[in-house]
Structure formats: C-alpha cells, structure tokens
Amino acid sequence: MFDGLAFLGTSLAHFADPITLAYVAAATLLGLLIGALPGLTATMGVALMTTLTLKMQPEIALLVLVCTYVGAIYGGSRSAILLNIPGTPANAAACLDGYQLARQGLAGRAMGISTTGSVLGTLIGIVALALFTPVLGELALKFGAFEFFWLALFGVIISGTLTGDDALKGWLAGFLGLLVACVGQDSIHAYDRFSFGNRDLAGGFQLIPALVGAFGFAEVLSVLSERGARPRIHSFDSYLPRLRDVFQYWRTIIRSGIIGTFIGIVPGVGEDVASWSSYAAAKRASKEADKFGKGSVEGLMAAETGDNACVPGAMIPVLALQVPGSAPAAVLMAAMIIHGVQPGPMIMVNNPQFVYDVVAMMLYATLGILIFGLLLVRPLIKVLQVPREIIMPIVFVLCVIGSFAIAQRLFDVWTMIGFGILGYAMRQYNYPMAPFVLGIVLGDLLDKNLRRGLVLSDGDLTPFVTRPISALLCGICLLAIALNITAFRDGLARGWALLARPSRSK
C-alpha cells in the first residue's frame, strides 16, 4: 500500500516538468479534437499517434498516447451533445440526453455535466487501476499455458458477444483476427506460415498498420462515401460544471464509475459497452426514469462517467495480463511493446514503477480534460464545423505515412490499405471490429499456449478444463456461447418459469 503511494509520488514528480506538461497539454488537446470530430475514433487517434511518436523517448511517447486516449473519449461527447453525432462510438449513449438538453437550450449545462462525469469517471477508474493492477498481476503469476490459452479465447468470445448486436458475427470476426495473427513465422519453430514464399508476408502483418487500416482507412471510406450535411449547432448557456449535479447524482456517478471500470477490465469490450451499461443501470435505478432520452441530466452523467471510467479500467488487464480491455488499449499495448516495455504478469516484479507511471499519466490527462473542457468550448465548436471532406483526405495521408514510418517499407502501407478495405466491408455487414482487433493481438498468446499446454500434458486435454482458473474461463466461454443459442435460452427461460411458479402460488 505505502510502496504504491511512494511509486505514485515518484511518477507524479517525474512527469511534473514544464516540457512534459506541455506534451500532456498538446496530446490531451489533440485527443479532444480527434474525439470531437465525428469519424475520428479514439482507436484511430491512438494508432496514428503511435506512428508519430516512434522516435520519442518511451515514457514521453506513452504519455502522449495515454493523454490522446483519455482526451478522445472525453472529446467525443462534444459532437454527441452539439450535433447528435457521437464523436467516438463510446459517446453514442451521450447523444440520447445530451442532444435533447442542447435542443432545450441547455447545451452548456450538458457540456458541464459531460466534463464532470468524465473527470470523476476517470478518477474512479484510476483508483481501481492503482489498486487492482498489482492484485491481478499477482494472481496472473499463477497462470500457466492452459490459463493463458483460455484467457486469449475468453477475450475473443466475450468481445464478440458484447461488442456488436450479433454475437455470431463477433465470433467470426474474432476468429479471423486469430487467423491473421498466424500469418508469418510461428513463435516456436520460426516456420513460415501462409507466406507463399513472400519475404514480407514471412514477417507477418504488423499490428499498427493493420489497426490504422481497420480503424483509420475504413473510417475514411465510410465518411467519404456518405454525403454529409453541414452541422447546425444550437445556442447554449453556461458550460461551467455545477457542484449541485455532483451531490445530487453521487450514487449514479459511483455506480457508473464502478460499472465502467469493471467493463474496462473485461478483455476487448471497451467504452461503448461501458457507456450503454452505465446508462441502462442508471435508468433502472432512477426515480426519474421517464426523463431518460428526453434530456435527463442523470442519464448523460451516467453515460459519460461510465465510458471514461472504462479507460483506466481497460489498462488494468493490459498491464497485469498483457490482454487489452478495449480496442484503443490494444493499440497502446502494441505501442508499449514497440517502445520496449513488456506488460504482463511479470510487470509488478520487473518494472512496478511503470504501473504507477501509467496511473500518473492518466491523472495528468484527467487534469488536461478538465482544463480544456472548461477553456476551449467555443474554439472546439469552430473545429466541429470544418467539413469532413477536408479532414478525411488529410487523415488518409497520415494513415499512409504513419504506416510507412514504422519500418519504412511499402508493404506496411499495402497492409493498411488491405485491412482498411476488409474492415470497411465487414462493418457494412455488422461485423464488429473490436473482436477482430483483439484476435490479431491475442493470436500469438493463444497459438503459443495451446501448443505448450498440449506438450506439457502430452496431448491430454483434461488439464485445459480441470485446473480451477481454466475451468472458470472455459465455463464462462461456453455459457456466453450457449446464451446465444435460441433453444438453450428458451429452455432456460422455461426452466426459470417452472421454478418461479410454485413460489408465486404461495
């Protein structure tokens, strides 16, 4: 406990010099702009910034990426409130009440609520990040090949189940991601798989160009293929946050913060599910449930607290297990590895200071969104009015040069374009991108640990389902699949009705 505080103090002091704080300010502002502009998502922003920060010192580069991530998730609420277009998918729930408040001339109040919720949500997530990462890291030290295999599969299955509106398509996307990760040299024997004699393919698909394509180029195509109308912005009142809102809705804030953080910890689920879950829970518990969707302050507070709490939450499995909690966290994890930081179970043994560095980065980013959220309301509105047909070609140039900059080879540019077209096609037909990305990230973990596990058990599959943690993860995976089978769900409902009948008749 006190060791943790000492580490945190050291990290906070380490980043508290003027140049580093200037990076914090610039990155948070950039993140805010990326989030606020519809079509530029947090994942895309973090992926593009990863390519821009390759030559920076690792700690500064990661600071920039964390600030971009936090800023983008917060920034998305601006366009949700003012334009009824979520800046990032995480802010879709904020549209429901934020835009209604704006139509009532209360856009300023809505932005104040969004700032309050985002800051408090991030702080709740940060506390969990500081407290639970060491605990989870210690637990993860007990994981062997069997558990890591299930953890990888668990991430893909759960992400596929929760991130889209069709679990089957989520799993297909996840399995495709796992297969993509198999291209190139295998990690045990260095054998070239599916390279067809091509030297570039033998190296496998690089993660960052693939993600820049799937999230960046796919979005460019998506935005340019639609005819966008010029945004109309309602006039607004004072945007200063009110303490009264915090006191009145403190239960909603804490509940949403806990839900958001927990959903962040679940591999591959991410901010949009956190936001909708917090919103739904707040509606169920609210005395003013009828106001939800018609300009409810509580609804907006819940949505914005939930998605921002998810950001630090998503970093917990990254640091402790090397399994990302969301798509932007997957990019951040890749960036950590590029910069020579090895997240995972050994981090609390080898590099505990880094965990608290991330906590400090998040704290500075939170300070950044608070300051910019209050100071830059009107300039941000001007940015929102820049036509997307001007922004998107520039974004594509950054996708191209960013992909090229990693290894300075054109193959990465073609990878980006290929994954962009694939991502666009999949999204058009309701295949979610988060499980696909998670599959690419976790493919190597699954591949190595399935084969290691089989070697350790000499081909016996029993340890995969009898060791306690393996059995738990396996059970959750099977339950997630079974709950999506209509016959099973109907049977469960009938069984439940039969059980409930005698108790009702009493």
């Binding site: 821009l52 390759l54 030559k55 089957l168 398509k169 799993w171 297909l172 399995f175 495709l176 796992l178 297969l179 198999c182 295998d186 045990i188 024997h189 054998y191 798989r193 599916f194 180029f217 460019v220 195509l221 340019l224 293929s225 639609e226 005819r227 036509p387 047909e389 001007i390 998107m392 070609p393 520039i394 594509f396 140039v397 950054l398 191209v400 040069i401 090229f404 900059a405 300075q408 054109l410 540019v413 073609w414 980006m416 374009i417 077209i421 058009q428 037909y429 309701n430 699954l446 591949d447 399935l450 084969r451 290691r452 089989l454 070697v455 000499d458 081909g459 209509t486």
Partner: protein
C-alpha cells in the same frame, strides 16, 4: 444508410467464411510438420491454424443455416451505400497509396495532388450549388500545400523518416 444487412448478404458471407476456412484448413493440413527436425507433434506449426479454421467453418455453417431463416433472425432491409462516392474514394485512395507513393514521384508532390483532388472532388457538389467553385479550388489548393509541407517537415525533418 441502413445498417441491417440482407439475408442474402449473410448467405454470401457464410459461403466466404466456409470456403476461406476450408482453404486455411487445407493449408494447415499440408503444412510441413517438421518431422525431419524430430519436434514434438503437438507443436506442429499447422496445429493452431487448423483448429481455428475448423472453428471458422463451424461458425460459417451456423451463419449459412441462419440465413435461410431470416424471419427468425431479422435482416430484411437491404444495404444502401452511396456507391459512386465510395468508388471514387476508393479509387483516389488506391491511386495515391498504391499507385503513386513510392513509385518515383516526390512524396510531397503526390500528397499535394491527392489532397487537392480529393477535397475538390468531394466538395464539388456543394460548391457548384453555392456558386463558389473558385473559392473551393483555392481552399483545396491551400489544404493540399499545407498538408504536403506539414507532413514532409514533421516526418522528414523532425522524426527523421526517409519518405517514400
């Protein structure tokens, strides 16, 4: 834009998944098992891709079966994509990313050309309606020059990247 794909689209996708899965399975099955190196057979390189491809085929078959029962699973509204704009965007991006970058022309020139053409083409309908074509062309030119100069300076001079 509608977001619900048709049942026939699901049918087409299911066939793609099944054929792709089968191709991967064939590739995994015929992959060298490295018996000459006397490795443990459970570490054969094709084991995991083979297992995953079976998973993909099974899920593809479920999607195939499901696509025959659209009334139960929904998905009757057809997709509407602004095809000409999509094709135009795709053509411009491919021309730049595959056709021009790294093919001999200076990076700043290809970038300026791409940005200018893209902004001009996609903003053309709005400028034509408003009668501001010249203003639109000047805006596109300024954006093109600014992007080309900015990206070249930042990547080449600040980040020391050898531009394609």
């Amino acid at each position: 834009m509608s977001s619900r794909p048709t049942a026939s689209a699901d049918l087409a996708w299911s066939l793609i998944w099944i054929v792709f899965g089968a191709a991967v399975f064939y590739g995994a099955w015929t992959m060298d098992r490295l018996t000459a190196l006397n490795i443990n057979p459970y570490t054969a390189p094709g084991l995991v891709p083979g297992a995953l491809s079976i998973g993909l085929i099974v899920l593809g078959i479920v999607l195939l079966v499901r696509s025959f029962r659209p009334q139960r699973y929904g998905g009757a509204t057809p997709m509407q994509v602004a095809t000409p704009r999509l094709l135009l965007a795709l053509a411009l991006c491919l021309a730049y990313g595959v056709g021009l970058v790294g093919r001999g022309l200076p990076f700043w020139l290809t970038t300026a050309l791409f940005v200018f053409a893209s902004i001009l083409v996609f903003r053309w309908p709005e400028h034509r309606v408003n009668g501001t074509l010249v203003r639109g062309a000047i805006t596109a030119l300024l954006c093109a020059v600014g992007t080309a100069a900015g990206v070249t300076v930042v990547f080449q001079e600040v980040f020391l990247v050898r531009l394609p």
